[in-house]
């Protein structure tokens, strides 16, 4: 049995070539007072894919994630996981159903050892929870080896570097045995080397049969990573499709670089 025994089992039952919708949002809307942070967004996440969500700062990416995970429930719309509506469920219930996430600003249990952080995920995260502490510790050790933190297991989480803390977030969420993993800007604040490591880790996770929704504001990173991309701007979905189509979309370029830049490029095009 691999690291994610339960998930690889389920993969066998999947009919090859037929994609199955794992997570779906219909008209998801979230308002904060007068501000509409997420405005009637539809999305689907197919089993086994990596879906990228991009958009400039303040586009509503993290808010959308908070709606999905129940941390900040949506005002309107439906969110379905395996066809079951989850938008009114509490965060811990959603986690146990198989939706895990990492935070952009990492949220470790700072006063606890690295290993204990991951034990928490194994103890509480899965529906078939590992109620025994000792079994959870076993899973935690596997996860730490998977993300390459085994040698730091006994250190306090607060003593890790930022890159290591991001990997700890990975291990903690993976220990909940998720079917879909939501990653919130795992690369923010990392250097080029660390970003490469993080990306290869994401691929490694997907190879284990975990579906991934990844938020990113670096275009370059997301195009290399995702199978499909949706673009948010001012809380609205402005584009959806293959990475290379989306990145050449005029609206997307406008959202990222401003109207002036687009006008300038057009002028340059005409001149040549």
């Amino acid at each position: 049995m691999g690291v994610f025994g339960s998930d690889s089992q389920e993969q066998h039952t999947e009919v090859q070539g037929v994609s199955e919708t794992l997570l779906e949002g219909r008209g998801v809307t979230k308002r904060f007072g007068g501000l509409t942070a997420v405005s009637s967004v539809d999305f689907t996440v197919q089993k086994g894919e990596i879906l990228g969500v991009i958009g400039p700062n303040g586009a509503g990416k993290t808010t959308l994630l908070n709606c999905i995970t129940g941390l900040d429930p949506a005002n309107e719309g439906e969110i379905l996981f395996h066809g079951e509506r989850i938008e009114t469920m509490k965060p811990h219930t959603i986690t146990r159903k198989g939706v895990a996430r990492t935070f952009q600003i990492v949220q470790p249990f700072s006063g606890l050892a690295v290993r204990e952080n991951v034990v928490m995920g194994a103890l509480f995260g899965s529906q078939k929870s590992k109620k025994e502490v000792r079994r959870a510790q076993g899973i935690a050790d596997e996860m730490l080896a998977f993300v390459g933190l085994s040698d730091k297991a006994a250190q306090l989480a607060s003593q890790l570097t930022l890159a290591e803390r991001k990997r700890l977030e990975f291990a903690k969420s993976l220990a909940t045995e998720p079917e879909v993993l939501l990653l919130d800007e795992v690369n923010a604040g990392l250097n080029t080397m660390e970003i490469e490591n993080a990306i290869s880790l994401i691929h490694k996770v997907r190879e284990q049969g975990v579906t991934i929704l990844v938020i990113e504001h670096l275009m370059k990173v997301i195009t290399g990573l995702s199978d499909r991309v949706i673009v948010l701007h001012h809380g609205e979905k402005i584009a959806e499709g293959l990475p290379r189509d989306v990145t050449s979309d005029e609206q997307v370029i406008k959202a990222y670089l401003g109207e002036k830049y687009v006008a300038m490029m057009k002028k340059l095009d005409e001149e040549s």
Partner: protein
Amino acid sequence: MFRPWSHIQWFGMGAGVLALILLPSFVENDEIRKWMDILMVAILAVSWNFIGGLTGYPSFAPAAFFGLGAYTTAILMNAGFNFFITLGIGACLGAIVALILGVPILRLRGHYFAIATFGVAEFFRELADNLRITGGGDGINLPQITGGPDYFTRFFYFSMLGVAVLAVLTQYFVTRHRLGYGLVAIRENEDAASMTGVDTTKYKIIAFVLSSIFPAMGGGVYAYRAAFLEPIDVFDVLFSIKAIVMSMLGGVGTVMGPLVGALMMEYLSDYLWGAFTEFHSAFLGIIIVLVVLFLPRGLMAVSQEVRSRGWGSLGVILKSNIQRFKV
């Protein structure tokens, strides 16, 4: 975090309990009474640890549950109930009250939670002050225990010891199982805990209920022993404060910490009372400040660090503790 006790540690605990059981055979009634007081505050400190130490919610409610248990025993014994049955009923009542109150007040965090729990104790004091069934401000008498001083001193001592052992064992098993891990996760980061799958609302309420049961039983024993209760005696905020200070002195969030803290604090308080009768409160206050400054995580944490780094590092450890306050 919490390792199961080794055989040696279990043996040590067993020896400690045995020593406490044999204690009355070797010392005067006066000394037994002092140990009974230590056990009583140890019960409060260990119980506070469930909600305050493990879960990180600074509760000032121990006095409320202590008084509730005391009055339950008083009223029921006057109605002819057996003493031990009243302890059980008091514990249940404490748990029910904690359950009902926990739902609204455990939504609050930090200072707001502290103030709300403080209000709970005040509310019960006012209630006892004004109800007829509690005797109001005049207080309430309990049936006198029969038998000589040798007998009843031991009777109350062993009752208190029984409740204390129950509280410590409960704490041990909670901290070594899933429940304890969930409580610590809430203390460390409540949002992250719920994202990790911890049902935070349920767990906080369980912790609050656990923290109410043993003070209520201790209050029952106290009431029968005192034979007379006044609201101000048992709904005294000092019970809550003692519980908190002792847990902090010993080490918040550990099983042994509150026990060690209770023992040290009572002995210290007793010694200071004898040596500086006039100023003993002031000295206690100074000690509390020093503890907060130098031993924020308690004696247990420091002793652990000293064990792993040697006595030479004691100065460094204390220094690093104060440095937390530099901005």
